[in-house]
Symmetry: C2
Subunit: 363 residues, 2 copies
């Protein structure tokens, strides 16, 4: 158990944006919401999963929708109480703690805001260890858990509770309502017991985000190594490419941000080229026509000087970025995991091969 | 209080299809569902509104979606129990009776099936006195009542409960989920007290449907008058046109059936022409370029020989039909009523003028 205040939030936002793998929304927007709540209501208690009783009710809090919309559409302050009331009434049980469902600039921050505003603790766990675009894409689905009852509310006061026969149906129905509400809403899904949370959750994700964020903030204090070496070491990342953005193709469709960013090599990559395709999150990294990494491994773009993560909504012509691959959570590499979030699910015609194997022999 | 069995259902289905004003779905499909339920579970008790206590909880049962889909997608038997449970749990109160929300081939029948299967009475009342395409288009909206909590379930077992800030928002969100569920779902909305039901409901609609249906069935027993005179008299209808269908234009869009039927005059209308435009229900009747009737008055097409109503999904080239206008329920002619269902709401650039005034001086 420890407290999370404004300095911690700053670092968590940066680190979570890196783990967002291009998605998860703008960490600046997310940070403002969390800091605002902590300034008004005080710091938040972060619990280790093992500090939560097995029979406690724990609920994730998140935004659903297109990250580009999040930056323009307000996040109110009353949604969390509404979600609490809906889920708590459904179960006839008090909610013990909130948790994030994914790591990302926005969805790592909103549960902190919710915890601050309602005076509840936050658990150091999530259901992805990164960000993914669809709601059934969580470790809890692999564990056979249901996304429903799922509570959804918009900033105007419209709300609904879903109960569905599969988590893919939850995604279908909630996505339709999200679109009708203006492509961005607040949700609580996968309500779970402390026991389930401990069994299938990605433990320590908030702390990992914070450490990554702190390391990025202090990346220049790298002693004898270059900042880049330092960054790759603490992030446990594999460098895939370095380049200048020469084109960005985008499309907002069905509540998602689809697109592709094209890179011209710089430095030791001069004369070579690469592109990264995304659906909210980065899905593939292709260098000189060869795929070097695919979902579910994390493909992250960071600024070549500051190592600050660059989310897909912040891609701009001329920006210099390094493409880095990070290993995904082990459950994603199982057959059940790859069925949910492997390349073929996203319509990419390649088998999943772990990042570190694809990159064997250099790149 | 009286019992409704199979003979009554046959007549109600025919009469309700007439009041459906082209919409409300195929009475044959609706009838099969109601008769099946009554054969299995016995006849249904029909209550006069005044027989319902003021504090009783009464809920309408209906299908939401495109009528053309209803004919192809199964209606299960478990949806009514599910809707009952959802609404009853929400209020923590038992449900006293079911009621229809609109008159129409399908939505007059499903509440009968629900009442039979759950052993609950049906109230002789609805919220339109006809059919309309959108869910906020009920007399209860004029009375300031909310459509929510609205329960929705599909035949697969997916469900949700909506709470919205306006009835137009209920329509938006429920329509989005309906589309995702395959354009046809079972719903309960406008849960109300006996008092509200008596104050704003269209009383006696089931009995009126039954009488109309019986009169159509026995239209040939017309004594000294022609069957057509007899039909127009008991339906209190104004004849607008008689013709052969020469074209039908259709489009299924956003969960609605849009279209237009073109007629070449026959008999005393020979050499003249007319068309009727619809969005699920008929919206306007135009004869020789002059509008003779618009929503919210009822524009009904019936077979020229049998006077059986022809719904918009049953329109076919070559069919001979009479176009008949019926006065709508008085509340629809108020300012609040016309704002909800007047011609301009449907994008038709004309003021509402009552049917009987438009037709003054003959047609």
């Amino acid at each position: 158990m420890r407290k999370i205040g404004i300095p911690e939030i700053e670092d968590i936002a940066t680190g979570a944006a890196l783990l967002g793998a291009g998605g998860g929304g703008d960490p600046y927007v997310g940070k403002l919401v969390a800091i605002g709540a902590v300034q008004e209501c005080g710091p938040v208690t972060l619990l280790d999963p093992d500090e939560v009783p097995d029979d406690a009710l724990v609920i994730p809090i998140a935004m659903m929708g297109a990250p580009t919309v999040l930056a323009e559409k307000a996040i109110g302050g009353t949604e969390y109480q509404k979600l609490y009331d809906m889920v708590s009434t459904f179960f006839g049980q008090k909610i013990y703690a909130f948790m994030p469902i994914e790591a990302g600039g926005v969805n790592s921050m909103l549960p902190i805001a919710a915890a601050a505003r309602l005076g509840l603790p936050l658990v150091d766990v999530d259901g992805m260890g990164r960000a993914f675009p669809e709601l059934q894409m969580v470790t809890f689905t692999i564990g056979g858990m249901k996304a429903t009852p799922m509570a959804l509310t918009d900033e105007k006061g419209n709300s609904c509770i879903f109960e569905t026969i599969t988590n893919k149906w939850t995604e279908e129905l909630a996505r339709a309502v999200t679109m009708s509400c203006g492509a961005s809403v607040s949700v609580s899904l996968y309500p779970m017991s402390g026991k389930q949370m401990k069994e299938y959750g990605v433990r320590g994700i908030v702390t990992r985000s914070e450490k990554l964020g702190r390391a990025i903030r202090t990346v220049k204090d790298s002693g004898t190594r270059t900042p880049e070496e330092h960054f790759l070491e603490f992030a446990e990342g594999i460098r895939l490419f370095k380049g200048k953005i020469s084109d960005v193709l985008r499309e907002t469709r069905g509540g998602f941000n689809f697109g592709k960013v094209v890179l011209d090599g710089i430095g030791e990559y001069k004369g070579r080229n690469a592109y990264v395709e995304f659906q909210n999150e980065n899905l593939t990294a292709t260098v000189d026509g060869k795929i070097l990494a695919t979902t579910p491994d994390l493909i992250c773009l960071v600024d070549t000087e500051t190592f600050i993560p660059v989310t897909t909504d912040a891609l701009k012509y001329g920006k210099r970025v390094m493409v880095v691959g990070l290993k995904c959570f082990h459950l994603w590499r199982t057959e059940a995991g790859l069925e949910l979030v492997g390349p073929r699910y996203f319509g990419i015609d390649t088998d999943y091969i772990p990042l570190e194997e694809r990159c064997k022999g250099g790149n």
